[in-house]
């Protein structure tokens, strides 16, 4: 019997059901991708922004992973009080403290100059943000600025993103491995 073709590494495409029960926002819903594909797409984008939230405090190893991504030249928007995690680790290069609500408001406008004054972003990558809040903000971007690619590298299936992982909320080890794969793909 021929062996089943399995993708190498963690399969983040399975379990693509809304994290919140019965949350079907319309005909346009997120697609799940493998970490290496997501990593390659983030690497290709011209003006990416990593947006991290306070859920990283529940899983502090994620701060180190966010810093690894930040060191690759991607600016980090530290929402809520997540900036404290970066202060504690002594990494403040390219880290901007801003609330997710004002940040999303700015992202709506094509004439916004960005956190560093270099221009509007073309990709936003959400990580470690309270699900319902991130979902609302993804929905805002989905409806009010179609030029920005919405990527979620959180452990939830985010229905309003463009690209997301499947639900991995209860399998932390797989999630960590997926983020490691994504970082490795970005390094290539």
């Amino acid at each position: 019997m021929a062996a089943e073709a399995k993708p190498k590494g963690i399969d983040t495409t399975k379990n693509a059901i809304p994290f919140e029960m019965a949350q079907i926002p319309g005909p346009e819903m997120a697609k799940t991708y493998l970490p290496k594909v997501m990593g390659a797409i983030i690497k290709k984008s011209k003006r990416p922004l990593l947006v991290v939230g306070a859920e990283l405090f529940d899983d502090p190893v994620m701060f180190d992973k966010a810093i690894e991504i930040g060191k690759m030249g991607i600016p980090i928007a530290a929402t809520a009080h997540s900036v404290k995690g970066f202060v504690d680790r002594g990494y403040l290069n390219n880290v901007y403290q801003i609330g997710l609500h004002p940040l999303t408001n700015y992202l709506r406008f094509p004439d916004w100059k960005g956190l560093d004054g270099q221009g509007q972003y073309d990709t936003v990558i959400f990580m470690g943000i309270f699900y319902k809040f991130a979902n609302g903000m993804f929905s805002t971007l989905k409806h009010f600025n179609r030029d920005i690619k919405r990527i979620s590298i959180d452990r939830y299936y985010h229905v309003n993103a463009n690209m997301t992982f499947g639900n991995m909320a209860f399998i932390s080890d797989d999630y960590h491995a997926a983020i490691d794969e994504l970082i490795a793909a970005m390094r290539k």
Binding site: G53, A54, T79, A80, H81, V83, K84, V87, D88, L92, Y96, Q97, I98, G99, L100, H101, P102, N105, Y106, F109, W112, K113, I129, F130, F133
Partner: protein, 142 residues
């Protein structure tokens, strides 16, 4: 939600003489959604800042804003310098540190002997400044 990055959005009328005046982006939002209680606390302190504050009021409010930020965020907020108009506005606990930062990071010119700003602030401190958006509130037109 306001656009703090657009200075033209933050022009008000000085009701004393009808002149237009640039102000700091305060209060920035009419409605704000915070992700955590720490963020809510910081934003509450920030939204207390008003254009018509006198130096003592601004100093107390900035102290509160900076203290909360230091306690829960581990650093001073990125935008504290926008709300400084005079040396007297600075929180006493951070005065020296902030004056150095204003000079080095934000390019303000400071007379260290007289402890005064030569240039830098968005607008000068003016105790009797009376901001309004309503032209009918203008008392005497110059």
């Amino acid at each position: 939600m306001g656009r703090a990055d657009k200075p033209e959005d933050w022009m008000v009328i000085d009701a004393r003489d009808g002149k237009m005046q640039q102000i700091e982006p305060a209060p920035e939002a009419m409605l704000y959604i915070a992700e955590t209680k720490e963020e809510a606390m910081l934003e509450m302190a920030k939204l207390c800042l008003r254009p018509s504050d006198n130096s003592m009021g601004r100093s107390i409010k900035l102290t509160h804003y900076c203290d909360i930020s230091m306690k829960y965020f581990g650093k001073l907020p990125d935008d504290w310098h926008l709300f400084v108009r005079d040396v007297k506005d600075l929180p006493l606990a951070y005065q020296q540190q902030m004056m150095k930062e204003l000079e080095e990071k934000h390019g303000w010119k400071i007379d260290w002997k007289a402890k005064k700003f030569i240039s830098g602030p968005l607008r000068p401190a003016d105790v009797s400044f009376d901001p309004t958006n309503l032209p009918r509130k203008i008392r005497t037109k110059k």
